[in-house]
Symmetry: C3
Subunit: 419 residues, 3 copies
């Protein structure tokens, strides 16, 4: 720890960031925006293709700024414009993806929560463990890392080595923790991929020593972006973990007649209420006051390499967004239908994960809580693509059909038995 502070002494008198960009043209450009190990945080920063990748045919830019006012005072946001698509990441809220836009397509939704809330205003324990809902408005919000599902009692090992119980809170802590390391990395060779990277730590004495290195990247001029995360256990003992990529769509993709399309091996209603809607799980209603959420648990069908795809298609069939991922990394997919009235939050979730969103206690009983050995890490990748035009949408749907091939999905009429 003394070494850390010797470093601090060098940096503390300066508000300038440390530019780690290597001199060599082939090395990527690296800009540290925040670092607790280097004692750095950058208030505002901006870069663009002209200075960093002058040979790029497509102009791009990255801007980092702070939000002001109310519960979002001091919250950091990074907006990447790849020349075609814009995407916003929030380091203060666990590197969550706030929204993305491409022309008239917006990825995201209109939550009743209007501000990008400083996690220090969120008490995860309030409302019987539902406090997470007070900050929830991201397009993609990571749920995890120690647990990712519903609130409720689960066991853990306490400081005297005894099995004790604790109340898990909805969707875990990672979305309400600031990233401890944040950097922008730009590849200097075509296609000049732009990365926004951040490390979020869930560390506790007598608790998890989990770190997630998140990496959101996009190629200039492309119609999508990639999330490529690494979760590592830095403890010396094995550690359970969970992650769920809670990806949420409102208008314009979601609307009456919008369709959910996925390659499905098996689909199971989350509860009796969802079972009632089983026949039309893939169709969306317009905003419906009093609509109660319906959740479906999906074991995706995948190709030989494990790749699968799920997408949301608008009613007209000329706009869609897809998530492409690998079931070896993310074996479970949750579809969350919440087509309530606009003011209540009209939204659907497409949520690949290591688990379904039951309480960890339930997921463990069903063998859906993975463990990391000491020092072990695991990779998770999701490619998000926006499809514009009937032909592009049809091609995206066809690709799902190709994965499905002639396999008939098993459609369960009843929920899984839960103790």
């Amino acid at each position: 720890m003394s070494n850390r502070f010797h470093l601090v002494s060098v940096l503390a008198t300066s508000f300038l960031f440390a530019s780690l960009a290597a001199a060599a043209g082939g090395e990527p450009f690296v800009q540290v925006l925040a670092s607790s190990s280097r004692n750095v945080s950058v208030e505002t920063w901006e870069a663009n293709s002209r200075t960093i990748t002058p040979s790029s045919p497509i102009p791009w830019s990255v801007r980092k700024f702070k939000l002001h006012g109310g519960k979002q005072e001091g919250v950091d946001v990074i907006v990447v414009d790849n020349g075609k698509l814009q995407v916003a990441v929030c380091p203060t809220r666990g590197m969550g993806v706030l929204w993305a836009t491409l022309g008239d397509v917006r990825l995201g939704w209109d939550s009743p929560v209007k501000e990008i809330v400083d996690p220090r205003f969120v008490n995860l324990q309030e409302r019987g463990g539902l406090g997470w809902l007070g900050g929830f408005n991201e397009f993609t919000c990571r749920c995890g890392l120690e647990w990712s599902g519903h609130p409720g009692t689960d066991k853990f090992v306490n400081n005297v080595g005894d099995e004790a119980t604790m109340e898990l809170t909805l969707h875990g802590k990672v979305a309400n923790l600031p990233a401890s390391e944040v950097e922008v990395v730009i590849e200097r060779e075509a296609p000049y991929r732009i990365h926004v990277r951040g490390r979020v730590d869930e560390r506790m004495f007598y608790g998890p020593k989990l770190e997630i290195w998140t990496d959101l990247s996009t190629e200039p001029g492309s119609s999508g972006f990639r999330i490529a995360d690494v979760i590592a256990n830095h403890g010396d003992a094995p550690q359970e973990f969970q992650i769920l990529y809670h990806t949420n769509f409102g208008t314009p993709l979601l609307g009456e007649g919008a369709t959910f399309v996925a390659a499905i091996e098996r689909i199971t209603p989350f509860n009796a209420h969802a079972a009632e809607g089983m026949a039309t799980y893939d169709k969306y209603a317009g905003p419906t006051l009093g609509f109660i959420e319906q959740v479906y648990k999906i074991k995706p069908a995948a190709d030989a390499q494990g790749r699968t795809r799920a997408l949301l298609k608008n009613a007209k069939g000329d706009r869609a967004a897809s998530l492409t991922f690998n079931v070896k990394q993310l074996p479970y997919l949750t579809q969350w239908k919440n087509t309530n009235a606009v003011g209540e939050g009209y939204v659907t979730g497409i949520e690949p994960g290591t688990s379904f969103p039951h309480n960890r206690r339930v997921e463990r009983q069903h063998g859906r809580v993975p463990k990391l050995a000491a020092g072990e890490s695991r990779n998770f990748q999701i490619d998000y693509t926006i499809h514009v035009g009937e032909a592009a949408v049809k091609a995206a749907v066809d690709q799902v059909a190709a994965i499905q091939a002639d396999r008939k999905p098993q459609v369960d009429a009843e929920p899984e038995k839960i103790e």
Copy 2:
């Protein structure tokens, strides 16, 4: 959300506030001090009559600054001096009124809590739901908006549409939320009323979508100020709400022999302990170590328009402060006697509200929890006046008597039956 961020991009590079003052002389002067929708927060600001209302015969000023040190680091305060009376508002703590002074009269009290506490240091759930007490030292502290009373279990509707239970915390959340919009508005025509306005949001997915626009205003040279709030339900479903204006007096008005004067239709002791003091509910003792709070629930008598008044008069009868409000807006009045020793908090509360301070579960059983339809709003106004001199105090007391007229208050010997 993308629109919001386009706006952000315009403003983010500037630390200057947006002056919204219209050019026309008749339009009020408006200064935005914080705004999460406009991405603005102003560190310090000052205005006075010379520049804004040069024709005003009475010099006034408004100052906005930040507090520093300990638990109040970064907390915002706005002090209005109307030329005669000074009043302080805290945007960081839900637009609470910290104190007011007029000559030798101070409205406020000496809480054991000495700092103006950043809400992020307050855990409302601690101490069995009494965490609110760790920041409580305002003159007028709003209690609400989803609930306003005592801690304890109450029901709510959870994310799967089921009735579940949650632990309410003392006096709700609104006093520990920062205002999301803050502005000073000054009327350019006589009497040049000065407004400090702020919007505090209690928004949650699967929860309330309540907003309160608070407005504290005062006329230059006057002996009081007005609170005029609007609570609105921005959800698409009906929403319960509560508000209680927890207005607290210590010295110099409170003292041995001070008197509480109110127009009363009915008065009921809160519990058996309060019942013991029923005969002397309107008289105050000096600081008394070990005094246990006594609370009285009052249905105020009102004039034909619904107006009523309650006041606290000092022992000598030459200083008083009154609250004038309308029972159509605020039908219930709570008197809180807590004449404990000085170091424990010698204080009395005069608290108009939509409810009494029982747990919401109890208030609901007695029909005292109002509901707002989708999009509906309600207004609440309280006029605070400081009365100086025996004649002025007598006039204020006479006005209460005029409201009371020949109606005899119903004085209950027993508390209300509570399940």
Copy 3:
């Protein structure tokens, strides 16, 4: 309160600190670094022997700076270099002692918690009351003030004067509260002792009105530092309190073969698991994956003045660190062995206190929860010394032996009976 704000108006427009240094040479130099009563906080500051004590033969320096990035954004740290020993104090975390170094000896440990965590990111109530563990990485972390021990239910008196129950959280609140007053005081006469002082308040309406003035001081050129704290009850009623100086050692002093040396009247295992290790309580193993903490409760033997000493000696016997304190102030000593694997936190604690770390309910039953009368205060002093070289280590050990004299420690085979 109005007086406070008049003062605020003077200071609010300035970012400069108030230098309280007296002109007279004999008066100590005083630098206020943060003060909620004076509305001051200083971003960075530095002083050294050349300007403050030019006649000091030993050069010293004090630096105050802010940490940046992640959960430590904005956290304040003060580092004192006495010319031989460096010690770091964290005002934001209750004036905790982060670490000290002297040559190759580091006092401190390598917690799995890597950042100096802003208390606003710590929810003490999480994990069944173990949330404190999310910020724990100090060398000396004060536990207290209202309670200092294990989580669990205890009684308290609520706002209506009734005895109610609340869930205590691990080790109390004081380590996760920012200091409300912080100052550096330097004596201008030899030996030019340097003090870092801070006041941390645990104040609540209907709760404690406890303040602790912490004072860490060191003499230029010396091999140690002193903590000299004063805890005062500012309420008008008697108030229970507890304090435990949770002092934690990792490498290089802790290692296989390291020895704990203390003057002991009686030693008792904390629980059955500790009882199993009773025979070797004073010997340390190397990092051992899966090691479950073993805790020993010690009633120290003391000299005629009440002084006692405990120390940790490295395996080679050429480095040690000792705590010297008085059993009239701190009658109980807890030894915490947690020689788990490095990544889990390889650490031992030597913890003088007013109590053992059982839940306050248990401590009260055994008469180990002191009370302060209204206005009463109590002093606590611990001298920390680093011993370098075999001769110095032997001398330190001999001093313990001299205190022990021919008294044979009572070694209990069984834990204390706990209801």
